[in-house]
Symmetry: D2
Subunit: 336 residues, 4 copies
């Protein structure tokens, strides 16, 4: 049994991670931490977990942590995480970090988009990027894994086969995504007040969303060359899921049959990617770690669609998929 | 043209009142006020009113008000309103007050449920209760009208014919209501954070909701004797509307035909009440000033249902209906 | 491993049952059947199961069934089920039947409410009623278990302690429930067309809902005497969950402390019932087999609330809980 | 008073048109028609209109129509409409047609996308295209006006200033739209069954949507040259509204200030277009005839957003705006 701690367990990704680990079979929750004001019995912090988990969420005690856990899911916010990850690694744990702090290899880009100095460059340099379908080999041996952002996960899986094969113009990619409202986290705000968000859909982060450079980094690594991506997120009136519609310009004509074959081959060994022959839908993946993809040609362009659950494949599920890989467990454990 | 001011225009009931008055024809908006931090052009405060209303929302200036308005819709919160209403009356306006401050005739009940001393008892004593279907005569000559609560409006209309005719046991009434989330007002909170409220329904105010004594007061006046009401509100994942399901015990057997006839007769002259022959639905009344009602016998009890829009018949629409009556305008003006 | 077949697997309860069994650990799916026009690969019939289950849904072949399964979850519709259950039993399987066909012990009541002659009275007479919290002993030895209706499950758990202890007037019970729209099943209809159901809530089955006699039967068995129940269902704009608000008249005064203590004791050994000290919410139980309950006194009456997921504790989850009990497996298997 | 008939009044656009006309002031409803099986009192066909409109919906009688109406809103389906419009014109009415039958000037394109022979080419040739912000002069003198599709309305307004000024590459336009579910019409179907559509979002009409050539036709007329548009619609879990996100490639660098100035100037005299300085949202335009627009540069591309109500500015409101223009009424009548 891999013993798992969740650092920063009081938010939505903490709750999702707990639910998955309760069904895991080869890993067990041993320690949950949060800020003192968010501590308490799991069933009090998350009423949907009443009776299902008897742990307490406690303030972090690194010594205790070192004694009870082999892996840490670090669910702390951006900028906070890099203050804790070095200590988790020193305590001898493998760390899967949910924040952006170890995702962007170019420190200058990180510092520009997150508006803070990076204080843990050494670990950043050696962190694996936790998108298993594209970087599984890195993850296998890693003790620090940067879990990707939700939008980059869906967007990258939708176009990776095209980039890998050099089939599209690298300055032509437009990613149009719609996320459910859980992506905003648990703190109430005006935009996500039910009477404002319900029956609504709107764009946000126009031109400045922090997932834009992350998508470009992944795309560049897959393509082996710089890729320029225009990423526009929107939020819609549903809890879970991200639908990404990705437009790109092929370098030469390609048929729908060739596209479908390419994608099916590319993902043939992947347990969590389903290449479909028609439109995907977020409801088909909500509550699962799956990514559904469809690709086709329209009027000389390629349009590829992906659907994921933003809290699972876009966060907690992928983190546990990464943990499974890093610890040599069956990749689908807890995620069936 | 009746000149109308809205005092406390920056909330949901302010916005609804503005929308109705823009279509009124016989009344015109002349003055909008709010707390200084909520002032600005109407189209900036309420993006859905951009281009539709060129007024500014300004801090209240009583002298200015006296010069530009004949009627005030006072949308201030409970406890705050009674500090302003006397000044509005002194300025020579007829006032329709949206708060609870002038609804409960028994000051002790008000002070218990609202936990504050009542500071304007004289005006309370002479305020008309603005539920036109039951108290139209009072409203006609009034210069202060207490606009009813949203739940009391729907609940009272659902059982008034039974109470008026003495057909039910006066200690048997149970009102089970479900409101949409706009009832919570515009300030974000944990319960109404979209990821919490969406796909959810829950009871609240259990045993202590402030509309319970208000329903009892109305019921008692209609019945001519004390009525005891158990009122239980719930909130569901939709913007607008209240569905009330009211259970009561008939004093003697009564047929469905008799019940339907009674209700149709009772409301035959009412422009905004529709007695239906099957289940009402909140979507049939959303966006309107109508109340749909259905009544039937089930297993020896009477079950009556009503549906209203909580922001219109339950607030702004009813206020303007009251204003129309008080100023001798056609009652349906602005509300077609 | 208990080998499980699902008969009538192509509807919502079939999909939920499959999802639970995929995580079960001590039971495995071996056979799925449906009408010929609804057969196909599981991932084609239910896109959310793509890649997760490699079985085919096939037309029922009783001989094949007998060879591959120990248990049958029979998800056929009312009236159809009683034509198949005898054959499933003859094939040597233990059967958990989701329909109403084996729930109502009084054949006359069944025939009145379902408007059909009962054709399998012998099995009806010996079927266990599958509400484990109230009838676990019956279930242990049964080879035919009638899985309860969704509304009766939530309503009965909300008042069973009161009935068992004789604390309420047996003619005073009113059950007011709101269900999510998945309760309507998978066939499109006008009422459940998204533009009609969204932003709506309405009552239905007024005075005639088939779960009324079922609730009365359960209540009567728990109380040891006839109980009269007025049951009024409503449907609201959400996928999953039932909130029941139950009103009853105590035979003598009782304190909130006594009520809470009574409920906590009554359900102290139950893995799936949580007695809470405040309002329950359907979102806290959605996706789980749990029932959350709160009970209190209001103005001389007792109001008890329960929340369940209609497709899990109200159908598939409870069926698998029953199967676990009947086969001597840990009751929570698959349902953590 | 302009006397208005609605032909095919029993669907969503009929209901919206009736609601607008009830508040119009300078036009009055005189005649409503539908297929015989959809006839009846307005309040029975549309419960939300109970008590608000006393007309009957009747089978069409052309002679009666000629005597009671000056204008016809023809809400018949595609392909059906062209069988009736000639008769409405012959009866002496001005016709605003909601179908696609008179929108596409190139008959071959119509016949390809709608898969039917066009049977009224003469009227097609002379029909005005009813998008007032772009073609108001045509509409003024017209007796047949083709009301645009909902997607083309929002998409065209979002990019017209760019096309008019020749600022973008004419083969670079990508329109990504999300509509609410009312766009599907009133007939129940599997995709729009509440448990399928709720909490979901998905693309449809991939590569084949009939609004693609319509957008290209409008864009071409505005630009004065052929424009190629990739249009991808999606449907989300809300009733009303379309959000369009339009990507295009500028022919030369342009600043955000220039873009905003261009749009504000272009639409300065338009009563129903609001150029905003931040993200629009469908909830800000739901229930209104307004179009909210925002335009900005992102990474070398222009991204323009528009939000409309699909049933109002995208259908019934725009039709009445067209009627107002054609009859010389104030353009905002009924639409305030």
């Amino acid at each position: 049994m891999v013993r798992v701690a969740i650092i920063g367990a009081s938010g939505y990704t903490g709750a999702e991670s707990i639910k998955i680990l309760l069904r895991h079979g080869k890993a067990e929750l041993t320690y949950l931490t949060a800020l003192p004001e968010e501590c308490g019995a799991v069933g009090d912090v998350f009423p949907q977990l009443r009776g299902r988990c008897s742990l307490q969420i406690e303030p972090l005690d690194i010594e205790k942590l070192a004694g009870v856990a082999d892996a840490a899911l670090c669910c702390l916010p951006h900028k906070v995480s890099m203050g804790f990850v070095p200590r988790l690694l020193e305590a001898g744990l493998k760390v899967i970090d949910f924040s952006a702090d170890y995702r962007l290899k170019d420190v200058a880009v990180y510092e520009k988009f997150y508006n803070v100095e990076h204080t843990d460059r050494d670990n950043l340099a050696r962190a694996a990027f936790g998108l298993p379908e594209l970087f599984r080999e890195q993850i296998k041996g890693a003790d620090l894994i940067a879990n990707p952002g939700c939008f980059p996960t869906g967007a990258s899986l939708a176009i990776a086969p095209l980039l890998k094969e050099g089939l599209i113009e690298t300055d032509s990619v437009i990613v149009n995504s719609v996320t459910g409202a859980s992506g905003a986290g648990k703190n109430p705000s005006e935009k996500f007040h039910f009477p404002n968000m319900n029956e609504n859909i709107f764009p946000y982060g126009i031109g400045v969303h922090r997932h834009m450079p992350e998508i470009e980094q992944i795309a560049g690594e897959v393509a082996g060359t710089d890729v320029r991506v225009l990423f526009q997120p929107h939020v819609g009136p549903f809890d879970r899921g991200i639908l990404s519609t990705v437009y790109s310009q092929p370098v030469k004509e390609i048929s729908n049959e060739q596209l479908t074959r390419l994608y099916k081959d590319f993902y043939s060994a992947e347990p969590f990617v389903q290449v479909r022959t028609g439109a995907p839908a977020v409801k088909d993946v909500a509550g699962t770690n799956y990514c559904h993809i469809f690709v086709t040609c329209v009027k000389g362009r390629i349009v590829s669609f992906s659907a994921i659950d933003n809290l699972i494949k876009g966060a907690s599920g992928q983190a546990i998929q990464n943990m499974n890989i890093a610890f040599g467990l069956p990749e689908q454990s807890g995620l069936a």
